[in-house]
């Protein structure tokens, strides 16, 4: 369906931008009149995807994280979080609950599971050496 509204954010891959990014997306999503619980779901999923771009995509390096959000006339919200970092060699494996490449940093490996639980759909495309795109979709029904 045709887009009704859209926005794009770009920021450096610094941990202090995690809070800013999830709050910005949830402020945008407020236009769809979601319940507080739905808004928290979106905030949490965005936090997971943005954190992954920062800690896994770019690791010790600093790059640009791009967050694009849009919604259509049916209330379907689509959020895409992209990085041009290291990429994911095996996406299915990465999405397996408890799988993490950073156990020494106390990562839980539950980020993708949280995104899948809190959103209607999660799609990942990635190219090793080029980067990763994570698309989160949730339809916010009109009350």
């Amino acid at each position: 369906m045709e887009q009704k509204n859209a926005m794009t954010l770009e920021f450096l891959s610094l941990p202090e931008n995690e809070g800013f990014a999830r709050v910005a997306v949830s402020a945008f999503a407020v236009q769809l009149n979601p319940t507080l619980e739905t808004l928290t779901d979106i905030k949490t999923a965005v936090s997971e995807a943005v954190t992954n771009a920062i800690v896994h995509g770019y690791r010790e390096e600093t790059g640009i994280v791009k967050v694009e959000a849009s919604y259509d006339h049916s209330g379907k919200l689509t959020v895409t979080v992209s990085d041009t970092g290291c990429g994911i060699p095996d996406i299915a494996r990465a999405m397996t609950p408890f799988f993490t490449t950073q156990p020494e940093k106390e990562r839980s490996g539950m980020g993708f599971a949280v995104m899948q639980t809190f959103m209607d759909d999660v799609q990942v495309t990635s190219q090793p050496g080029c980067g990763t795109n994570v698309t989160l979709v949730k339809t916010i029904a009109a009350e």
């Binding site: 941990p15 949490t44 936090s47 997971e48 954190t51 609950p97 839980s108 539950m110 599971a113 949280v114």
Partner: protein, 101 residues
Amino acid sequence: MRFEKHRDTLTVHLEGELDHCCAQSIRREMDRLLEEPQIRRLVIDMGDMSFMDSSGIGVILGRYRLLASRGGSVAVRNMNRQVARIFQLSGMGQIIEVMQG
């Protein structure tokens, strides 16, 4: 971080947000308080926490490992619904006690 110690129990009160960015300092503060070897039980009170993602699971599990290695345990208190869902998803209820109230 607000905390109380009572015999072998350390209770910490988490405030604000627990994401990857905040995790490092929260972890450091908890570990400093847990240096006292007589502490065998950690109670994490989440009543004043406004946000948590899976980074929080990593922090709790890390403290659980530390306590378990000295025969102790970890409990959480005052989880909101959102946090309870993340908790359940991660099967944390198997190893970490959820205290009512």
